[in-house]
Symmetry: C2
DNA sequence: AACGCTGCTGGGCAGGTGCACAGCAGCGGC
DNA sequence: GCCGCTGCTGTGCACCTGCCCAGCAGCGTT
């Protein structure tokens, strides 16, 4: 499965310079969109020579993939940590309600539309993240009254969708109804998961 | 408010050739992403000379704006028509559940992130569409039991988000949980709005 | 017959792009 | 002292980009 050998010599994957390039590419992607991520501009943004981009990455798509993977892995790890230290409904909601990364998601969704290697990676990550979320949500809902409640996976998709829309619209400057929607979700959580702010924080068995 | 005069001579706004260019640009946008919408490629896709793009549009952004407006206006008109001939909850849901235009939305969301004239247009349209949807939703909910129901605008944002996520993921090939989510929404609608398939379709006052 | 308007086009410019290739300096191992 | 490896760079190529400009052919007015 090793990438079939190419004549071109490539830099070490754990290079510090390489990491700087990836970071610069990510900044550019977020601030100016994927079309702005060119070898010249990435180089300039990192304070390095443009050729280094091609020294560390066979193609620009490889760069995009690396940018995506880094952020995706970090996100997944952060999620696992959130779950590990509690993982209440409130925690899960706050995690998906963070609007950091909404722009990121849009850019990659757009990229994925027409570059198949990227699409595959995005799809793969989306599945992994969904599975982790679903497990955490099931655990968090465990013990609450299941009466008349939609299936967890449906809840997940709706909440995911809601936070995406809120984030995108906020970027656009459109915020009508946002506070009502947020208030509704939070109220719902409060009902399902009586706050642990008074008394023992331990979960009742 | 007239665009301040430029030396350059531009083609008639109602030209048939112009319309062909807009249509070709839209196709390209959907199939290959906004980065593929260049004067050369639009010209080729329309079977016309590339210079015609600059003859009919002062800048490429103007082309993008025209593509967006055309689709946005058409969408709005189609929505009004849907509302006019019924506008039940089921109709509204089906309208937003159409995945046609999800890719379109993504591309323009990405474009809007870093081109302000486009952002303004997208924001403006988003507000108009939201207002129309909200009014229609309020009408459709009128008469149903408001007990324990979230505010209409919250419902709207959640459903909008849900359908966006479903559409994006479908493009990616990720469909886990989709059928459950759709089933849930449809069941909810069925409960609120007993089907008119038997007997009189008139709304009870 | 002269004129102006309109749709369209050939040619071109300055700039940006991905990527390749040959080579250099510094390094550790022999 | 030589060798091979590594990080890096100067140069360059073929190609694409937005946009401009001068001009042409056909047209309806006058």
């Amino acid at each position: 499965m090793a990438t079939l050998p190419s004549s071109r010599r490539l830099g070490a994957p754990d290079s510090k310079t390489r990491a700087r390039l990836v970071a610069a590419a990510e900044r550019l992607l977020l601030e100016e969109g994927y079309a702005a991520v060119t070898s010249r501009r990435v180089g300039a943004a990192a304070g390095l020579k443009p050729q280094l981009v091609h020294y560390y990455f066979r193609t620009m798509d490889d760069l995009f993939l690396e940018v995506f993977r880094r952020r995706a892995e970090e996100n997944l790890a952060r999620f696992e940590r959130t779950v590990a230290k509690g993982g209440s409904l409130r925690d899960l909601w706050q995690f998906s309600a963070e609007l950091r990364g909404a722009r990121f998601n849009i850019e990659f969704a757009a990229l994925a539309n027409h570059r198949k290697t990227i699409r595959a990676e995005v799809a793969h990550y989306a599945e992994r993240f969904r599975a982790a979320q679903l497990e955490a949500l099931r655990d968090a809902l465990d013990g609450t009254d299941p009466h008349g409640r939609p299936p967890p996976v449906a809840v997940l998709l709706m909440v995911t969708g809601l936070s995406q829309v809120l984030a995108i619209e906020e970027e656009l400057g459109v915020t009508a109804g946002h506070s009502e929607a947020v208030a509704f979700v939070e109220e719902l959580i409060a009902r399902l998961e009586p706050t642990a702010s008074r008394g023992d924080p331990g979960p009742p068995v």
